[in-house]
Symmetry: C2
Subunit: 221 residues, 2 copies
Amino acid sequence: MSGSVVVIYSGGMDSYTLLHSALREGHEVHALSFDYGQRHRRELACAETVCCDLGIAHEVVDIRSIQALLKGSALTDSVSVPEGHYQESNMKDTVVPNRNMVLLSLAIGHAVSVGAGAVWYGAHGGDHAIYPDCRPEFIRRMDAVAQIANYDPVHVEAPFMELSKGDILARGLAMGLDYRHTWTCYNGREQACGRCGACVERLEAFVRNGISDPLPYEERA
Amino acid sequence: MSGSVVVIYSGGMDSYTLLHSALREGHEVHALSFDYGQRHRRELACAETVCCDLGIAHEVVDIRSIQALLKGSALTDSVSVPEGHYQESNMKDTVVPNRNMVLLSLAIGHAVSVGAGAVWYGAHGGDHAIYPDCRPEFIRRMDAVAQIANYDPVHVEAPFMELSKGDILARGLAMGLDYRHTWTCYNGREQACGRCGACVERLEAFVRNGISDPLPYEERA
């Protein structure tokens, strides 16, 4: 099966792998990134470079003006980024209200505009059971509403839903992908911090695959 | 039943009536308007004045930066506004891709932020069967996903779903509402044009209620 798909592409390792999976399956890919004022803006720069190199359509949507609605998140506000492993207590601090429904709604609108039949999104099954809007039932219900919200139905798919972050990396490594072209750290410094929840998870995925992360780190936990 | 609700409030007559219905039912109301670069910006000015007079919380979210995704709509682009009755052939021109899912997603996020248990939205049953995202099944599916997208469930409700525009006006008139404080016309001129689909529908609702619209018009169809 091929056709046109919108891939929500943050510039991180999961969506980077997803983007390449879509290309390998023969889809025409429209990459879509969101600028929500995140500290880790390097993600967006990575996304732009990758799409340019691949020669695929890429839109960056500036959603900073809706920040008033996204208040209380460590990813945009001036509170500290939680360190260490993801746990319900600290990860709730990084939750932006209704984040994935907002992003998916915009992606579905983009799919209608460009005539794509599906939106692909990199939610995965790892240890993110903590985010309600990364769960299979959420994706199923978004898919159900996306099929009737416009004249043309759009499917919402999370092909990595059953995979862990380590599994996703394994898949990308098998495709020969180079993860230097991705950015994961929640802090916006020159090198990845190695301590925030995102870094810790990323480094563990590399350890599980028995290889070293090619990115430079300030320190490795 | 009372509690805190987010009311999507455009400044038009339907959502003006909805806002007052919520207040009459004893809800704490958080009004939410969207600036999507619409020509009929007078709607937003009406909304602001009304909320200020009522002393209720009102946020205007600037979503103009997502216009690239909303391309092709007569409401924001420089193509002409269709005149006369709403019909599938001309109303498709005013459809913004996935518009209501985007707006509802932002409203649901706002509800989570302010601790509101529901989003109220003025979709009605009149002759708008033409908009897929104004139909009962769309509202049901949005409600289903909104209940599991965040730690706190939010309900999506369209209390006027079974009413015509004339019925809504009758309800507002029975509450003693003054429709001079609303704006409906799609054109952004000093007076309502009286010819666009929105004006034609509004004027008909007044005729059905046997009274004259208090707004000044360039001409009345």
